[in-house]
């Protein structure tokens, strides 16, 4: 039965899948790149709980007692900062507050930065207590472990969403433009192939990479950083599946007319770059003004990342993220049919 004829959609999907998997560079960018990025970011943003408060101490006549007072309780790292280096040290985050040994001491810090305000408060508390301050009472402390509150936990779902977007859009866009340049698209429609099936196969072939695209960074984060996964695997599967199809459909739409790699690259960057910034991959999109929030929430990458964060970090169910799924669904269906209408096969 080696010669059994299988359906065109299966053959088209297999062809696309094989073309991709036989391109070693593409495989590298898909699977290795996310790990490299997570590692780099994990080193740059260690979890807050186990990192010391960084305090700069200006050299002066009597810094010894100040240094003792600061380091006695632990949790504070003291670095000597000369006056001429002070601004740079604060800007680069080498220290978050600088203590000048005046009487009483002077704090130099940047009130616009959260770490800086926090460091000032810690230093102030430690130094006053060392100077003999009597507290009227001591509150009972109940530390709560809030799962997924570290930056790396927050970042990983964003990284997964960004990876799905990039891989789907580049993979599909490049594949189609290459086929058009080689006149392969024209050859395909000279056969009885159905155009809809060709485009659909491009999307379906992407799904074959989905398990690896999601699992590799997710497992890596769980193993290497102990990231919590509170939601169900099923919910993660459904949201990433819908997301991949949506990004793929946008990739199809962008590739409808492009005739060169340069043209498709420009279009891809034009569409993806705003989403990298607006959709909260690296920093929360809540920082943007209220006026642009509706726009931000209408973006497919925002919907993908918000849904993933809700599921992974907060344990949300599919019903909880139905709004995001609806946004992704619309971004999948409309571009697909627009692409089918506008597609140039020549």
């Amino acid at each position: 039965m080696s010669d059994r004829i299988s359906s065109p959609i299966v053959q088209l999907t297999l062809a696309r899948f094989r073309e991709f998997i036989r391109e070693p560079e593409a495989v590298f960018w898909t699977f290795v790149f996310p790990i490299v990025v997570s590692l780099a970011l994990a080193m740059a943003f260690p979890s807050r709980a186990d990192s010391d408060v960084l305090v700069g101490l200006q050299p002066g006549a009597d810094t010894g007692s100040l240094r003792d007072a600061l380091t006695r309780g632990g949790g504070i790292t003291v670095r000597e900062v000369r006056p001429q280096d002070e601004r740079r040290a604060l800007r680069e985050g080498v220290v978050n507050v600088v203590v000048i040994p005046t009487e009483p001491p002077t704090y130099r810090f940047d009130p616009a930065r959260e770490e800086s305000r926090y460091a000032r408060a810690v230093v102030d508390d430690v130094l006053k207590r060392a100077a003999g301050r009597q507290d009227p009472w001591t509150a009972r402390q109940e530390p709560q472990e809030v799962a997924g509150s570290r930056y790396i936990d927050w970042f990983i779902p964003g990284l997964i969403g960004m990876g799905l977007m990039s891989n789907s859009m580049w993979g599909i866009g490049f594949g189609i433009v290459q086929a058009r340049m080689r006149k392969l698209l024209k050859r395909m429609i000279a056969s009885p192939m159905r155009k809809r099936e060709y485009l659909l196969a491009q999307l379906i072939a992407r799904l074959a990479f989905l398990p690896a695209e999601v699992l590799v960074p997710l497992l890596f984060a769980v193993v290497a950083f102990g990231m919590p996964v509170n939601g169900s695997a099923g919910a993660i599967v459904v949201t990433t599946l819908v997301g991949t199809l949506s990004f793929g459909a946008i990739g199809l739409l962008l590739a409808t007319r492009a005739r060169t790699i340069e043209a498709i690259s420009g279009l891809m960057n034009l569409v993806m770059l705003p989403m990298w910034i607006l959709s909260g991959v690296f920093f929360s999109s809540a920082n943007f003004p209220d006026g642009v929030q509706p726009l931000i929430h209408a973006l497919p990458l925002t919907a993908q990342i918000d849904a993933l964060r809700a599921i992974i970090l907060d344990g949300a169910t599919l019903a909880d993220v139905r709004g995001e799924l609806a946004v992704l669904g619309i971004w999948g269906v409309l571009p697909f049919f627009a692409a089918l209408r506008l597609f140039s096969w020549r």
């Binding site: 010669d3 088209l12 391109e23 080689r182 392969l184 000279a190 056969s191 009885p192 192939m193």
Partner: protein
């Protein structure tokens, strides 16, 4: 020569007929008022220099280009109305298609075969184009002649009634050309129809039952290669037999392959 076939409705019809085809790109007229009929079972050649409008004409007949005006009927069907049915019965080889390089020969054939409701097996196709030994080779590793034979095999996947070939041997070495001619001869020997373009007169003389010489988007001569050569009358130069090249020169005062 004329052996019209009777179709299912009991009506005789040519394999291809087109009337007053016109196609212009801006002010450049690629095809101007072109009318021709290709009979069932013949190998018909469009012969002409590069830029004569051969490719535009064949792509209109293949349903890949829309003419500005004129009528086209292929196997008694029309492109606008019966596209799906028509595509099932045609084999098409384009001029410059590069098949996907990362796929193997067998995978490529399996893909094309899947589009046809009936047709040849992949094993048959490999055997016909003599690529059995290359079954698992990547397309990117094939020689020019092997690629062209694979491309022909893709066109034969649906066991077509009518085969369109656009410059099938351009760029091939003499051995590969001969090999391809042999394959096309076999196809025609089974009573199927071929419509091809070429700018090689020896190819047209070897393969074609009838030839239309095309220049500036018009047919300037039509007939069997023998008739066309005979129409020249007494060869002006007795040192060699008349060829289609001479016919073209006599009609246009130019060589067929102006380089």
């Amino acid at each position: 020569m004329e052996q019209p076939e009777v179709n299912h409705d009991g009506v005789t019809e040519p394999a291809v007929s087109c009337a007053r085809l016109r196609k212009a790109y801006g002010s450049v007229v690629a095809v101007g008022d072109l009318t021709l009929t290709v009979h069932r079972g013949e190998c018909f050649g469009l012969l002409g220099p590069n830029g004569a409008g051969k490719t535009t004409t064949i792509e209109i007949l293949e349903g890949l280009l829309k003419p500005d005006s004129g009528e086209v009927e292929v196997l008694g069907l029309r492109w606008g109305h019966h596209e799906a049915a028509l595509r099932q019965r045609l084999g098409i080889q384009l001029q410059e298609t590069q098949l996907a390089e990362k796929l193997t020969v067998e995978e490529t054939l399996r893909l094309f075969r899947s589009f046809y409701t009936r047709g040849r097996t992949v094993d048959d196709l490999l055997q016909i184009v003599e690529l059995e030994g290359k079954r698992t080779s990547r397309v990117g590793k094939l020689s020019g002649g092997q690629k062209q034979r694979l491309s022909l095999a893709c066109a034969l996947a649906g066991d077509p009634d009518l085969l369109f070939l656009d410059e099938p041997t351009t760029g091939l070495d003499p051995h590969s050309r001969r090999q391809l001619w042999g394959l096309l001869d076999q196809f025609r020997a089974r009573g199927r129809t071929i419509l091809m373009t070429t700018h090689y007169m020896d190819e047209a003389e070897f393969l074609c039952d009838r030839v239309a010489i095309v220049d500036h988007g018009r047919i300037i001569a039509l007939g069997t290669p023998k008739e066309l050569i005979a129409r020249l009358g007494e060869p002006k130069v007795i040192t060699h037999h008349g060829t289609l090249e001479d016919v073209f020169m006599a009609l246009t005062g130019r060589h067929l392959r102006d380089e």
